[in-house]
Amino acid sequence: MTTLAQPRPALAQPRLVAFIDRLATSPCCAAIVGEGPLTAALASRVPIVFILRGNGLELAPIVERAHEAGKLIAAHLDLVDGLRADHRGVAWLARSGVDAIITSHGQLMQAIRDEGAIAIQRLLLSRRSHLDTAITALSRSAPDIVEILPGVILPQVLKLMPEFGVPVLAGGFVRTVEDARTVLAAGAVGVTTSSPVLWDWEASL
């Protein structure tokens, strides 16, 4: 039982390296579900914006706007409207310009990488039995990054898991600076949060 291992060879991908590097100084990413929060997120310190809702077929203008603001974009394939969580859906998002694609479907990780995007696998953990199956699933799917939800309980969860050697993002109920500090100290490389109070937080402060 331990926290996270050293980054895997996949981290050598330049795009993934840049993604992780951005989190080093500003580890909190904005998780948004609409246009309103997008404006606030783009004006904040967050390095990466996670789009969890909206029309997946019309993301290109948003991605362009975010890139102009110096932000990276990760889009959630399973949650945006209009797309199916399959290879074609992956291709659509990638060609919309997103930098990373999130999905709970481990079998899509390679397809996401093949499209040139960073592959983030979302793990939804509610029971102990999910932890055991999650490790097996991760070994097969080999994501670039794992996002664990609910992230606020990451310290307890990692104690129950064997080392799996993939950078971890923590999302869900992380709402305060104290929450963020705790999950980062547990080994997360970043936090995804819808709480604007964290969007301007610098870990070094």
Binding site: P150, V152, Q156, G172, F173
Partner: protein
């Protein structure tokens, strides 16, 4: 058809429900305010437990192999087997269990605040229908508003292993679900059932 009122008042939720898949029958010590949660098991095991278990039973009806989640299934569990606590992800199932005089607990997934609110949209919010929150560990991180939105009784379910985490959950929830090992550890750490014969949870043959 409503049976509410024709049965005795609903029993309170035990503080601890020990998860039981039927493979390793268990019986918590009498000192523990406990029950057994039958889950991930077969219908035949549920029937056997109902006939023989000496403590209060609950069933996670969606995970019982061979059992539906329709009205007939609920009536079988509550009226025929006398298992009064029913956990389910389906609002209609929960409502029917409550109408029969049982205590229904609607399962909501709390991975993030957005998902929690969406999950609670389907809650019937009526007498006899409480809330199961998974993972239970997250309860102590919820806002006052989120906690107020949960219909009681509240059952914390999932990922609780350490006694302090269990206590934290019990400070908010009315009960928790524990696997046998954490339940045994919790009981020993809190001085419950620390008797010479050893195990707080004693194996019994319930098949």
């Amino acid at each position: 058809m409503t049976f509410a009122g024709t049965l005795p008042a609903r029993r309170p939720l035990p503080r601890i429900l020990v998860a039981d898949d039927g493979r390793h029958p268990i019986e918590p010590a009498v000192e523990l305010d406990h029950g057994l949660l039958l889950r991930d098991t077969d219908l035949s095991v549920v029937v056997a437990r109902a006939a023989s278990a000496p403590i209060q039973l609950a069933v996670d009806i969606d995970t019982v192999r061979g059992l539906g989640a329709d009205e007939a299934a609920v009536e079988f569990i509550v009226r025929r087997l006398g298992i009064e606590i029913v956990l389910t992800r389906r609002s209609a199932t929960a409502l029917h269990a409550a109408e029969l005089g049982g205590l229904a607990l609607l399962h909501v997934l709390a991975f993030d605040s957005t998902g929690l609110h969406r999950s609670l949209d389907g809650h019937p919010r009526t007498a006899g229908v409480g809330t199961v929150v998974s993972p239970g560990l997250v309860l102590s991180h919820m806002s006052d508003g989120e906690l107020a939105s949960l219909s009681r009784p509240i059952l914390g379910y999932g990922l609780m292993t350490e006694p302090d985490d269990i206590d934290g959950c019990l400070a908010i929830a009315d009960g928790v679900v524990l696997r046998p090992d954490p339940a045994r550890h919790y009981a020993s750490m809190r001085g419950i059932g620390a008797r010479p014969e050893g195990n707080v949870l004693t194996t019994v043959d319930a098949r």
